[in-house]
Symmetry: C2
Subunit: 99 residues, 2 copies
Protein backbone atom coordinates (compact mmCIF):
# COMPACT_ATOMS: atom_id res chain seq x y z
CA UNK A 1 0.00 0.00 0.00
CA UNK A 2 1.06 3.54 -0.69
CA UNK A 3 -0.32 6.72 0.86
CA UNK A 4 -1.20 9.48 -1.58
CA UNK A 5 -1.93 13.04 -0.55
CA UNK A 6 -4.40 14.83 -2.80
CA UNK A 7 -6.05 18.23 -2.94
CA UNK A 8 -9.49 18.77 -4.44
CA UNK A 9 -10.15 22.37 -5.50
CA UNK A 10 -13.85 23.15 -5.77
CA UNK A 11 -14.82 26.45 -7.42
CA UNK A 12 -18.13 28.00 -8.48
CA UNK A 13 -18.73 27.45 -12.20
CA UNK A 14 -18.44 30.49 -14.49
CA UNK A 15 -21.71 32.41 -14.48
CA UNK A 16 -22.79 31.08 -11.10
CA UNK A 17 -23.33 33.78 -8.46
CA UNK A 18 -20.58 33.86 -5.85
CA UNK A 19 -21.69 35.99 -2.87
CA UNK A 20 -18.46 35.30 -0.95
CA UNK A 21 -16.42 36.56 -3.89
CA UNK A 22 -18.56 39.70 -4.03
CA UNK A 23 -18.03 40.20 -0.29
CA UNK A 24 -14.26 40.01 -0.71
CA UNK A 25 -14.40 42.53 -3.57
CA UNK A 26 -16.53 44.82 -1.40
CA UNK A 27 -13.89 44.75 1.35
CA UNK A 28 -10.96 45.71 -0.89
CA UNK A 29 -11.75 49.43 -0.69
CA UNK A 30 -11.55 49.41 3.12
CA UNK A 31 -8.08 47.88 2.89
CA UNK A 32 -7.00 50.38 0.27
CA UNK A 33 -6.25 47.61 -2.22
CA UNK A 34 -6.73 48.39 -5.91
CA UNK A 35 -6.52 46.43 -9.13
CA UNK A 36 -8.09 43.21 -7.82
CA UNK A 37 -11.04 41.73 -9.70
CA UNK A 38 -12.82 38.49 -10.62
CA UNK A 39 -12.63 37.07 -7.10
CA UNK A 40 -14.07 33.56 -6.80
CA UNK A 41 -14.26 31.77 -3.47
CA UNK A 42 -14.33 27.98 -3.38
CA UNK A 43 -13.17 25.16 -1.17
CA UNK A 44 -9.93 23.24 -0.95
CA UNK A 45 -10.05 19.77 0.54
CA UNK A 46 -6.81 17.92 1.27
CA UNK A 47 -6.90 14.22 2.05
CA UNK A 48 -4.81 11.07 2.23
CA UNK A 49 -5.75 7.92 0.32
CA UNK A 50 -4.18 4.51 0.96
CA UNK A 51 -4.30 2.50 -2.24
CA UNK A 52 -2.33 -0.06 -4.20
CA UNK A 53 -1.33 2.41 -6.91
CA UNK A 54 -1.82 5.94 -8.12
CA UNK A 55 -4.62 5.10 -10.55
CA UNK A 56 -6.68 3.38 -7.84
CA UNK A 57 -6.05 6.28 -5.45
CA UNK A 58 -7.14 8.87 -7.99
CA UNK A 59 -10.31 6.91 -8.74
CA UNK A 60 -11.28 7.12 -5.07
CA UNK A 61 -10.66 10.88 -5.00
CA UNK A 62 -12.57 11.35 -8.24
CA UNK A 63 -15.61 9.63 -6.76
CA UNK A 64 -15.36 11.58 -3.51
CA UNK A 65 -15.04 14.88 -5.38
CA UNK A 66 -18.05 14.20 -7.60
CA UNK A 67 -20.36 12.68 -5.00
CA UNK A 68 -19.51 14.38 -1.72
CA UNK A 69 -17.23 17.39 -2.05
CA UNK A 70 -18.87 19.29 -4.90
CA UNK A 71 -22.30 20.09 -6.23
CA UNK A 72 -21.93 19.32 -9.94
CA UNK A 73 -24.77 21.67 -10.90
CA UNK A 74 -22.98 24.78 -9.74
CA UNK A 75 -19.39 23.80 -8.97
CA UNK A 76 -16.38 22.50 -10.86
CA UNK A 77 -13.50 20.63 -9.29
CA UNK A 78 -9.98 19.66 -10.12
CA UNK A 79 -7.70 17.19 -8.43
CA UNK A 80 -4.01 17.75 -7.56
CA UNK A 81 -1.63 15.03 -6.43
CA UNK A 82 0.43 16.61 -3.64
CA UNK A 83 2.71 13.70 -2.77
CA UNK A 84 3.05 10.01 -2.10
CA UNK A 85 4.79 7.81 0.46
CA UNK A 86 5.13 4.05 0.74
CA UNK A 87 3.79 2.76 4.03
CA UNK A 88 3.86 -1.03 4.07
CA UNK A 89 5.13 -1.03 7.65
CA UNK A 90 2.30 -1.55 10.10
CA UNK A 91 -0.23 -2.15 7.36
CA UNK A 92 -0.72 -5.71 8.60
CA UNK A 93 -1.42 -7.14 5.16
CA UNK A 94 1.43 -5.51 3.32
CA UNK A 95 1.73 -8.26 0.73
CA UNK A 96 -1.92 -8.16 -0.32
CA UNK A 97 -2.78 -5.93 -3.24
CA UNK A 98 0.73 -4.59 -3.57
CA UNK A 99 1.19 -2.90 -6.94
Amino acid sequence: MTSYRFAVNVTPKPGILDPQGRAVEGSLGHLGIEGVSAVRVGRRVELTVDASDRVAARAVVERLAAELLSNPLIEAYDIELLGEASSTVGAGTGTVGEA
Copy 2:
Protein backbone atom coordinates in the same frame (compact mmCIF):
# COMPACT_ATOMS: atom_id res chain seq x y z
CA MET B 1 -0.17 46.68 -16.97
CA THR B 2 -0.36 42.94 -16.83
CA SER B 3 -3.17 40.82 -15.41
CA TYR B 4 -2.10 38.02 -13.09
CA ARG B 5 -4.40 35.25 -11.97
CA PHE B 6 -3.61 33.87 -8.53
CA ALA B 7 -5.06 31.26 -6.21
CA VAL B 8 -4.82 31.53 -2.43
CA ASN B 9 -5.20 28.20 -0.62
CA VAL B 10 -6.23 28.62 3.01
CA THR B 11 -6.09 25.53 5.23
CA PRO B 12 -6.53 24.93 8.96
CA LYS B 13 -3.15 24.77 10.71
CA PRO B 14 -1.99 21.36 11.97
CA GLY B 15 -3.53 20.65 15.37
CA ILE B 16 -6.46 23.01 14.83
CA LEU B 17 -9.86 21.30 14.98
CA ASP B 18 -11.50 20.94 11.58
CA PRO B 19 -15.19 20.05 11.99
CA GLN B 20 -15.81 20.07 8.22
CA GLY B 21 -13.00 17.58 7.73
CA ARG B 22 -14.48 15.35 10.44
CA ALA B 23 -17.88 15.59 8.73
CA VAL B 24 -16.40 14.44 5.42
CA GLU B 25 -14.67 11.52 7.15
CA GLY B 26 -17.97 10.61 8.83
CA SER B 27 -19.70 10.45 5.45
CA LEU B 28 -17.20 8.11 3.83
CA GLY B 29 -18.78 5.01 5.31
CA HIS B 30 -22.18 5.83 3.77
CA LEU B 31 -20.52 6.07 0.37
CA GLY B 32 -18.65 2.80 0.89
CA ILE B 33 -15.30 4.53 0.47
CA GLU B 34 -12.35 3.12 2.40
CA GLY B 35 -8.73 4.11 2.92
CA VAL B 36 -9.30 7.87 3.14
CA SER B 37 -7.94 9.76 6.14
CA ALA B 38 -6.54 13.09 7.34
CA VAL B 39 -9.21 15.15 5.57
CA ARG B 40 -8.73 18.90 5.97
CA VAL B 41 -11.22 21.37 4.54
CA GLY B 42 -10.11 24.88 3.70
CA ARG B 43 -10.86 27.62 1.20
CA ARG B 44 -9.55 28.37 -2.25
CA VAL B 45 -9.81 31.94 -3.48
CA GLU B 46 -8.98 32.75 -7.10
CA LEU B 47 -8.50 36.36 -8.15
CA THR B 48 -7.06 38.61 -10.84
CA VAL B 49 -4.57 41.38 -10.03
CA ASP B 50 -3.61 44.13 -12.46
CA ALA B 51 -0.10 45.28 -11.67
CA SER B 52 3.06 46.53 -13.34
CA ASP B 53 4.98 43.33 -12.69
CA ARG B 54 4.81 39.95 -11.01
CA VAL B 55 6.49 41.09 -7.79
CA ALA B 56 4.03 43.95 -7.30
CA ALA B 57 1.10 41.64 -8.06
CA ARG B 58 2.26 39.03 -5.57
CA ALA B 59 2.70 41.69 -2.87
CA VAL B 60 -0.97 42.65 -3.27
CA VAL B 61 -2.07 39.01 -2.99
CA GLU B 62 0.18 38.46 0.02
CA ARG B 63 -1.43 41.37 1.84
CA LEU B 64 -4.93 40.24 0.87
CA ALA B 65 -4.24 36.68 2.03
CA ALA B 66 -2.84 37.77 5.39
CA GLU B 67 -5.34 40.52 6.20
CA LEU B 68 -8.62 39.43 4.65
CA LEU B 69 -8.67 35.87 3.40
CA SER B 70 -7.15 33.98 6.33
CA ASN B 71 -7.16 34.06 10.10
CA PRO B 72 -3.44 33.80 10.93
CA LEU B 73 -4.14 32.35 14.38
CA ILE B 74 -5.70 29.17 13.06
CA GLU B 75 -5.07 29.08 9.31
CA ALA B 76 -2.12 28.87 6.97
CA TYR B 77 -2.14 30.01 3.37
CA ASP B 78 -0.11 29.55 0.26
CA ILE B 79 -0.20 31.48 -2.99
CA GLU B 80 -0.15 29.98 -6.49
CA LEU B 81 0.37 31.95 -9.68
CA LEU B 82 -2.10 30.48 -12.18
CA GLY B 83 -1.31 32.60 -15.23
CA GLU B 84 -0.63 36.03 -16.63
CA ALA B 85 -1.74 38.07 -19.63
CA SER B 86 -0.69 41.46 -20.92
CA SER B 87 -3.62 43.81 -21.21
CA THR B 88 -2.44 47.24 -22.28
CA VAL B 89 -5.34 47.50 -24.73
CA GLY B 90 -8.20 49.42 -23.19
CA ALA B 91 -6.25 50.28 -20.06
CA GLY B 92 -6.31 53.94 -21.03
CA THR B 93 -2.89 54.67 -19.57
CA GLY B 94 -1.06 51.81 -21.20
CA THR B 95 2.29 53.55 -21.27
CA VAL B 96 2.28 54.44 -17.60
CA GLY B 97 3.87 52.02 -15.17
CA GLU B 98 4.67 49.48 -17.85
CA ALA B 99 7.21 46.95 -16.59
